[in-house]
Each structure stands twice: as structure tokens, then as C-alpha cells.
Amino acid sequence: MLFLKKYKKYEHSYITTSIIILIILISLSLFAPLLTDYNPVRNNARNRLQPPSKEHLLGTDQYGRDIFTRILYGLRTSIEVGISVVILTVIFGGIVGIVAGYYPQIDKIIMRVLDAMMAFPGIIIAISLAAIWGAGKLNIILALSFAYFPKMARIIRSAVISIKDLDYVDSARAAGANDLRIIFKYILKNSASPIMVQATFNFALAILDEAALSFLGVGIMPPAPSLGAMVTDARTYMVVAPWMILAPGMMIILSVLSLNLLGDGMRDLLDPHLKNTLKK
């Protein structure tokens, strides 16, 4: 793969660090049931607000639930939301972007609609959709995908436009390839790098925005663990139980930071020229 080939050549430290952190985080969330004996939603209120100890590595919250356990499962929620949002935005953004880029007849209409959508900050769209549809994991995923896909569509469209008039595409067409074949075999394959970079950023953004939505009370429904909701709960107890806010806060920072570093690193690695045009 192109990515791996270049990686050896550059030996980029951003990427190495962020991938290591990400692997740790993902395995923490995947192996959560093996790493802890506690259940993330079972209460033990007589044991509430305990500081970190041997039994509770990161202390307990106001219901007496183990915070370490909740972080592992909360991370799982974040990653689930992140991956689902990335997949959905790539699919929707891909379809819209390709149609707009490949068929100039309807390009203008689609782009103006997307412009209108992009005029609103993504988080505002997500908040209003979540408020209308109600809280819950699936609704959050849909709301965030809806908010992010215009940007993805634009990136894919510009990649399509820049590639579709290149000589090798023309020769494929001359050889009798139909639109579908050209799009998938020649265009998409060669526009993979900007999509991957944007997908990584979307991943990070989705984790952050899920936390934000849950923080505002329109995200993951309690008692299911979510890093953002943990921060909200912890706010009241910040002075008496600082461990409650520190742990989920650090986890959000760590995951978002590593994803952003990965995105930055990949962008530099794959296409240094894009650095200025693709800045978030």
C-alpha cells in the first residue's frame, strides 16, 4: 500500500506516537470486560464519591460506580460513535461528492445546498437534530453524520474534478469503460488520500461532539457511560471529588489529540501540497 511505503521513507514521529496511543485506547475499550470486575451501570451508592484506591483505580462517582470501568466503556461508546460517523459520512459524502464532481450539470445545485448546510456550525445542526429526534446513540450517530457529510462531499468533489480530466481517465473512457467503472477504478482509488485525512479528522470531531452533546444532555442516555456525560455529572462534584472530572476529561483529550495528530501526520505524509488547502 501506498501509505505504508511512504511511511517507511518518512518515519514520521506524529504518526508513530498517535498510532501507539490509539492502539492502547482501542484495546482498552475492546478488552474492558477483562480489565475490570465492575459493571459500568450497577450502583453501589453507599460507596459513593470514593477517592482513587486499590479497589477503585480512579475512584467512584455519585452512584458509587467505578470510574475506571465507566471510562473504559465510555471510550467504547466514543469509538463506536466515531467509527459509525466516519463510515456514514464517507458513504453519503462520497455519493454526493462524486455525483456533483462527475456530472457538472447538477454540480451547482448540489453545491449551493451544501453551502447552505455548511453555513451552520456542525455542532448546532447536530444539537438541533438530536433535540428533535431525541437522545440516544443511534440518533447521535445520524445527527453527527448529517452535520459532517457536506464537508466530506466537497473534498471528494474537488478530488473528482481534478482527476476526471486527466489523460488516463480519458484513455479509459476511449477504451470503452462506463461511468461506474471509471469512478470506482480510476477516480476514487486515486482520491483516497484526502478522504482518509478528512475521515481521521471526522473521527476525532465525532468523539469530541458526542462528548459535547452528552455534556449538554442530548447525547447518550444515562445510565449508559459516555465521557461527555461523565464530565457533566462531575461538574457539581468538581470541588469535592476532582477525580470524577479529571479522568474522563483526560480521556477525551487523549483520544482527540491522538486522532488529530494522526490526521495531521497523514496529510503531510500523503500530500504535502494539500497542507494549505485542506486545513480544517
Binding site: 451508592a45 455519585q62 457539581t236 470541588v239 469535592v240
Partner: protein, 525 residues
């Protein structure tokens, strides 16, 4: 020689007693003065208690207006602007004699005309007045200081509702001229009899009250809202600060002398601060678990009883309130010390944690294992944490529970429906003047319980009897029956009583923790 000694002794004694009394007087005199700054959590739409159900309004306007009757510390009804009263014709007639020396903020003396005008307005638009109105006949002025209230039928809770601490039900006396001017419209010129008078109101920001120099205190001993009120402070400023943390830091820095409702879990931090005193309010809220009695499985009383056995109330106390000094288990609707307290309410079911029995009862009720929906608010700590803890406990014994947490208006809208929810957690005000007040919540299809069965009609019967009974002993027996019935058919039940936490600076002296904060008799050092 002996005579001289005696004389000098007497002189010495006189000098001493003079000295002592002058220092006492001086101390008493020292108390006067100063501006009190307080931080309250909610802003109000206006200041007319009759035109609202917002209890925040009466909390402030209690300083400006006074009732004919007020409650003391033990919730005993005490004449306040009334000098005395007499109940005649088996409870159909109430004769009330007014105090004759009470000056109002416009300089005139309060008399029967003011009371009659205020009462007619109260009866027409006030929430408490509307409870009384269907049974009421007319109010008569006998002479300048005597009034007669006449009823069409006996209405036992009358005096208690006149002094009611619930929201804005209390009847207060306003100047007749103001009522002539405003009628039933919202009043914005305030002429009362209270120790403080209205000075300035900046909506969403503050209300300023100043001392009423010609205030005539009640001759009775001061106790909470009843008796003598002394306005030591020159000025009281009520600031509206919605954010709890801002109220807290305001008191910590000395900007405010008092803050209403601060986070209970910061109690220890306030305790360590030498300048701050915690004020724990007498448990004046109860957390009620209400069933939707119209929908299966809770259309069957055994299913409702099962939930009481399935819950560990003590564990719930820790989860929904926290520190045990802020909550206590209490099965009765009226707390210990209240004249209507029934000590053995719910014995055998309240606080008995028996999951096995719960399962048996559910089976007996024919529960089919469908998920049960708990509807609760997400903004109030008790509602949110309580609902989450109840879900957890029910799931532990294998009952499938769906949690629905919403903002207050959505909760109010959804719970009004007959379908879509099974259980609902809500705070009730504990400090109520009369057992009759529960009629509005209990009985056939009252309030939100959707209760309509043989049991509910029996409850209706109990309340109908209670309404007509004026004798305390007899009435208490009816209350006992009501409590027993309530714990047998369980249309809703009280999980526990809980307190709120206020904080004050140490400079604020003589502050008493009432169900609504008040600042007469307090002074600044």
C-alpha cells in the same frame, strides 16, 4: 454605720443594674442597621402573590405583606394580623377580630375594609382562594375591626389554607386603595403591613426592600412566620443568581451574606470555611414515586406494592441525595412533629426490602415482563439520580426498565397522558398546612395517577369525610385511615424526605432555617 453601709450597697446595686441594662440596651441598639445582600436562585415574573403559584414570590413578599394567620416553627396556626378568632355554627361561621394598631406602608391603620377587599381578590384569583371558593358563602364587615366569614358548607381546612406555606396560597392583607386601583390585574404598587416595604425591583436582577419605620410587631413571641418580627436591617437586597456556583462564590468572597440552595455535596467545604455557616433546611421535600394506575401492570395494586418491596430505600437515599444528614426515611405524608403525623404509616411495607416478595407480588398481579418506563426530570438532582438508581435496583432483580429523562416541560406534558409511562419520580412539598391538601393528588383520577378503581373511590370517600370534620381528634382518625389506605393501594408512595442546603456568612446573626428564608429578626454584626 450600718445604715451607711446599707445605703452604699443600695447605691452600688442601682449603679450596677443601670450599667447592665444600658449595655443590654446598647447591644440591642447595635443590632439595627446595615444592608443585607442575598442570592436567590430564581428570578420572578412579578411580585403579586395572588396572581402566581411561584413560591419564590411569597418568600420575598413575606417581608412586605403579612397574613391574618401565620404558621409558627411547629406548623401551629397562630393569629397574626388577627387578634383572635371564634368558630361558630359547627364550622359554618368564622368571626375574626383584627389587631387595632397595625399601620400600613401608606401611613394609615389597617382595618376591616382592607381585609375584606384583599380577601375578595384572594378568593377570586389566588390558588388557595380557589380551593375555598366553592364552599364559601360571603365575607361580612361587622365593624371597623371585626369580620365574619360565612360558608355554605363546612370547610375544615379554611384557616390552615389562609396561612398556607404552600407556594402562594397564603392570604395576605393589602391596602384597599391598591386593590381598588388594580382589581385582579398584577399589582406593582405594594402597600402592606410588613416590617419591610418595597423600594425597587429590577426584573431578572434584584429586589430591594427597606425597613418600615412605623412597623407594629405582633405582641406574640416570634417563631418563624408567626409572632414578633423586628426589622433590624436597613435594607434587604434579593439578587437573582441562577447559577449555583456563582451564588456559592459570592458568599465565599463576602459579596452575599446568604445564598439559597447550594450543592449539598459541597457541605464539607463550607464547613471548613470559618466565614460560612451551613443552613440545612428541615426536610421540606419528599421524593414521590407515582404510578400510572391506568396502565398494566400498575392497574393492579399488588404490582404497585411489589415496587415498594423491590426498592432498597436507604441505598436510594445515598444515590439520589447523598450525605445522610440531608435525608431521612419517612413513610407518612406529614412528618414527625406535624400535628397530622401518623407514626405507623406503611408499617410492614415501607422500607421493607424483600425482592423475593416483590417477585411473588408481581406474579400475582400477572406482570408479563414488559419493560417498565420510568419518566423523570433531568435537571433536578433528586429526580435524575433517583430515576437512575431505581432503574438500577429494579434491573438487579430482573425487571426490565426503560429510563426516560427529559426537561421539566416535557416531563409535565408526558406525565399528563394516560399512556407511555409507568412510574414517575417527582418532588412534593412536605410542609403542607392541612391533610386535605392531599385531596388534589389522591383519589379517582386526581392529578396524574390515573387511578380509577374500587380503591380510589374508597379514598374519595375518606376525603369527603375529612372535609366535613372540624374536630381535630376525629379528623386525625380519618387521616390515619387515609394513610393506611394509601399504603395498601399505593397509588404513589413517599420514598424519603430530604433537605435543601443554604449557606450564610457568619456576620448574619439570628437566622432561622424556615421553609422559606426570612430576614426579620436577623441582624448583621
Amino acid at each position: 454605720m450600718k445604715k451607711k453601709l446599707r445605703l452604699s450597697l443600695i447605691v452600688l446595686l442601682i449603679v450596677f443594674s443601670l450599667l447592665i441594662s444600658s449595655t443590654v440596651l446598647a447591644q440591642e441598639e447595635d443590632r439595627f442597621g446595615g444592608t443585607l445582600n442575598t442570592a436567590f436562585q430564581m428570578s420572578v415574573a412579578h411580585l403579586d402573590t395572588d396572581n402566581s403559584t411561584d413560591s419564590m414570590i411569597s418568600a420575598m413578599m413575606n417581608h412586605v405583606y403579612e397574613g391574618l394567620f401565620e404558621f409558627d416553627e411547629n406548623l401551629n396556626l397562630t393569629p397574626h394580623l388577627a387578634a383572635s378568632y371564634e368558630i361558630k355554627e359547627n364550622g359554618l361561621v368564622y368571626d375574626v377580630k383584627l389587631r387595632e394598631d397595625v399601620r400600613m406602608h401608606n401611613g394609615e391603620l389597617m382595618d376591616a375594609d382592607d381585609v375584606v377587599a384583599s380577601f375578595r381578590r384572594w378568593l377570586e384569583i389566588n390558588n388557595g382562594g380557589q380551593l375555598v371558593a366553592p364552599h364559601f358563602d360571603e365575607i361580612e364587615k361587622l365593624d371597623q375591626y371585626n369580620i365574619r366569614f360565612k360558608f355554605e358548607e363546612v370547610y375544615a381546612p379554611f384557616l390552615n389554607i389562609l396561612a398556607s406555606p404552600v407556594s402562594n396560597q397564603k392570604f395576605v392583607v393589602r391596602a384597599e386603595e391598591v386593590i381598588d386601583e388594580f382589581g385582579t390585574d398584577v399589582i406593582d404598587r405594594h402597600v402592606g403591613t410588613g416590617p419591610y416595604k418595597y423600594e425597587e425591583w429590577v426584573p431578572d436582577q434584584k429586589l430591594v426592600l427597606t425597613r418600615f419605620e412605623d412597623y407594629t410587631p405582633s405582641p406574640r413571641e416570634g417563631s418563624f412566620f408567626a409572632g414578633e418580627r423586628i426589622p433590624y436591617l436597613n435594607k434587604i437586597v434579593f439578587n437573582f443568581i441562577p447559577d449555583a456556583q456563582v451564588r456559592v462564590s459570592g458568599v465565599q468572597t463576602g459579596q452575599f451574606h446568604f445564598a439559597e440552595e447550594v450543592p449539598r455535596d459541597q457541605y464539607q467545604i463550607f464547613k471548613m470555611d470559618q466565614n460560612i455557616k451551613n443552613v440545612i433546611i428541615y426536610p421540606d421535600r419528599m421524593s414521590m414515586l407515582i404510578f400510572n394506575n391506568a396502565e398494566a401492570p400498575f392497574d393492579n395494586k399488588y404490582a404497585r406494592q411489589a415496587i415498594a418491596y423491590a426498592l432498597d430505600f436507604e441505598e436510594l437515599g445515598y444515590a439520589m441525595i447523598g450525605d445522610p444528614q440531608f435525608w431521612r426515611l419517612e413513610s407518612a405524608l406529614h412528618e414527625k412533629g406535624n400535628p397530622w403525623h401518623v407514626s405507623d404509616a406503611g408499617s410492614g411495607i415501607y422500607g421493607v426490602y424483600d425482592p423475593e416478595k416483590a417477585k411473588q407480588l408481581l406474579e400475582r398481579a400477572g406482570y408479563d415482563g414488559q419493560p417498565l418506563v420510568i419518566l423523570s426530570g433531568q435537571d433536578n438532582q433528586m429526580e435524575r439520580q433517583g430515576a437512575i438508581a431505581i432503574q438500577d435496583q429494579l434491573e438487579k432483580i430482573g425487571i426490565d426498565v426503560e429510563l426516560q429523562l427529559f426537561d421539566r416541560p416535557t416531563v409535565v406534558e408526558r406525565r399528563a397522558k394516560k399512556e407511555g409511562w409507568h412510574m414517575h419520580l417527582s418532588p412534593f412539598i412536605k410542609v403542607v398546612p392541612d391533610p386535605q391538601i392531599h385531596q388534589g393528588w389522591t383519589g379517582t383520577n386526581k392529578w396524574i395517577t390515573n387511578w380509577d378503581s374500587k380503591d380510589s373511590r374508597q379514598m374519595d370517600q375518606i376525603f369527603a369525610e375529612m372535609l366535613r370534620e372540624v374536630d381535630y381528634e376525629q379528623r386525625y382518625k380519618i387521616v390515619e385511615r387515609m394513610q393506611a389506605e394509601l399504603w395498601d393501594s399505593v397509588p404513589y408512595f413517599n420514598i424519603l424526605d430530604y433537605s435543601r442546603l443554604h449557606i450564610r456568612r457568619t456576620e448574619l446573626k439570628n437566622f432561622q432555617a424556615g421553609w422559606q428564608p426570612f430576614f426579620w429578626n436577623t441582624y448583621l454584626e
